[in-house]
Symmetry: C2
Subunit: 200 residues, 2 copies
Amino acid sequence: MGRPAEKQSERRQDVAQAALRVIAREGLERASMRAIAAELGATLGVLTHYFPNKDALLRLILETVGAEIREAFDSVPLRRPADLHALIGEILPVDGPRRNLWKIWLSFAVAAADSPALAREHAREYGELTVRMAAALTRLAPQLRANLQVQAEAETLICLMDGVGLHGALMPERMPPSRQRAILKAHIDALARKETASHA
Amino acid sequence: MGRPAEKQSERRQDVAQAALRVIAREGLERASMRAIAAELGATLGVLTHYFPNKDALLRLILETVGAEIREAFDSVPLRRPADLHALIGEILPVDGPRRNLWKIWLSFAVAAADSPALAREHAREYGELTVRMAAALTRLAPQLRANLQVQAEAETLICLMDGVGLHGALMPERMPPSRQRAILKAHIDALARKETASHA
DNA sequence: CAAATTAAATAACATCTGTTGTGCTTTTTT
DNA sequence: AAAAAAGCACAACAGATGTTATTTAATTTG
């Protein structure tokens, strides 16, 4: 009863999936209504029937991508600090599908800068990711550095992932999967290193 | 004599600056030829006279932004590790102009994913940044961690900056300047901490 | 089975896009 | 001063875009 509870009549998702394929293949700016309809093997009528306008369609796509990222996050059980390696391996753009997901995600991030509606949705998704990351670090806290600031480290980790993901998705030659993993492994290992009590 | 040495007849730069203002204000996708011409207080004739097509104009803009970022990089003398704080303060999206620069930069990063011409220019700029960062760390090496891998740490630092910059530029409420600086300060301080000899 | 709702195709719209061509004015060159 | 070139405005183009009817077919409801 909390949320609007719009009915998601399957076909809406078909449209969203077709749109995702177009965006992944040709970019967000070339994902026109007609291109999406063609990808679906249908006509504009379908799109206009299920969505009041293009913005509504784009919002559903953003939500869909956000859900996929959240699922990837939740699919990894976090018991030991080393499990964070599996988590980042599940999320980073290490293969075609994941590169596409990142590409789309970043497209929306940029587009959201000029669209309040998208920006709201986008900020919400990031909020959920941060909460998840902070929860993960809290759960692992006993096995991490003693004086670790969970909230701050969660944000840092997300920023580092976004930076590596940005390079990995948009410049794969310069930032191949091996280097993506190496960078985040080094950072995570530093979190798990209990000996040093920092400078203070 | 190394580079093509195209003459940059001032007016070309005027066009580029007008385009930059439009992109900063309304986003890359809404930066049409006509919008740029209007911003310049002229007509389409000016643009078509100085540029063979829109792509050439966009490439000049990307190059201009890259030059600004490089200048910011070079404006900070790096003698002590703490100077890195000043460097990141000079580059990160901590105020309006710099947020705009990042927004434009990220727009091009995403657009480059579907435009080979832009991608080449973009990769070149990133190459130069990485070289600069690696050179900076090499210069500071004697005052940093003993077993520090310069190239790897330079890439990590750039990724972290890009991640923080992405959040700072596109979601300023969630990533204000203070937090941007805090995140990078923590990372840089860890590089400068000489005591710990790591795990090996 | 009839009526009503849903699904989808088709066509038309006004607007915006990058590009091209033409002509006028100013500046530079010879 | 004559000739040439550069700078730029203006108009027109073909095509794409989101949106809005209008119609026809399929499905559900009574």
